[in-house]
Amino acid sequence: MEKELVTYIAKALVDEPDGVEVNLIEGEKSTILELKVSSSDVGKVIGKHGRIAKAVRTILSAAATKSGKRVVLEILD
């Protein structure tokens, strides 16, 4: 579910939606989401001073309150 959320938001932010890839690494207490986008789009998902990345992380942790699991978003470049 969180994977779908990140994928959806990321696709809306980038120029190349086809380049968006999200990998889910399920841990015991936390879930890691690895977000991969085209190299030209990395700035678009991070934003100035990381503002967009921070907002996406906030949205994710709000969504994660349901499952009670911690969700970590990693942006790969």
């Binding site: 959806y8 503002r51 906030t58």
Partner: protein, 224 residues
């Protein structure tokens, strides 16, 4: 759950509520029911607050029939985007147009989960709003700011901040000292500055770095 508490000051009443309910200040909503300003000579004030806990938040707000439906492609796309985001967050709701102004588009969320969608101090609402603004910028070349609201949170927060500004202004005027407010975003800080602008003997300035700075309210006397 709704409960009332009384104290000499707003702070005292809130502290009582925190203690009685065993909650953090962030976890409930406070409404001032009655506030008698402390008298000039004998400093006795009385403040009664009503505390809203959990899902009762905003229960007594007048329920209007919701916002208007989106009209053009841009509004449709944006409303769909926000609806999809909150749906995928697991907190589905209905998004409508609250107002249209020049360079501003107000969207409102009606959801059973508005509490979590707003978040502590509006954190979650701000995050979704930020993303919605970036997406809006990609959808149109026009300069439009998107304002997202749920349960009239922004209006209520605005009223609370104005009240806080006035109260703090009075405090530093009496103490002739200064007071540092909690970290706020630029919009919230501006509201504090402008509210206290018309007080001649009180000044405000922002302190700190980054997006969330703190406003210091201080007494400067009347230079005349």
């Amino acid at each position: 759950m709704i409960k009332e508490f009384e104290g000499k000051t707003e702070k005292e009443a809130i502290d009582k509520a925190v203690e009685a309910l065993g909650l953090d200040r962030d976890e409930f909503d406070v409404e001032i029911v009655e506030s008698q300003k402390s008298g000039f000579l004998f400093k006795k004030g009385r403040v009664i607050i009503r505390v809203h806990v959990g899902d009762d938040m905003g229960d007594d707000m007048e329920s209007d029939g919701g916002g208007r439906a989106p009209e053009n492609d841009f509004e449709h796309a944006l409303v769909d985007f926000v609806e999809n985001v909150i749906d995928k967050m697991g907190f589905p709701g209905k998004v409508t147009v609250a107002f249209r102004e020049e360079k501003k588009l107000g969207l409102r969320i009606d959801s059973d989960h508005s509490g979590i969608l707003i978040g502590r101090k509006g954190k979650n609402l701000d995050a979704v709003q930020l993303i919605a603004n970036v997406v809006a910028g990609r959808l149109t070349n026009e300069d439009v700011r998107v304002i997202l609201d749920a349960e009239n949170y922004r209006t209520r927060r605005e009223e609370n901040l104005i009240r806080l500004a006035r109260k703090t202004g009075e405090q530093v005027r009496r103490s002739k000292g200064s007071k540092l407010l909690e970290p706020m975003n630029p919009f919230e800080r501006r509201l504090i500055h402008t509210t206290l602008n018309d007080l001649e003997d009180v000044d405000t300035k922002s302190e700190g770095e980054g997006l969330y700075k703190q406003v210091r309210v201080y007494y400067r006397g009347v230079d005349r």
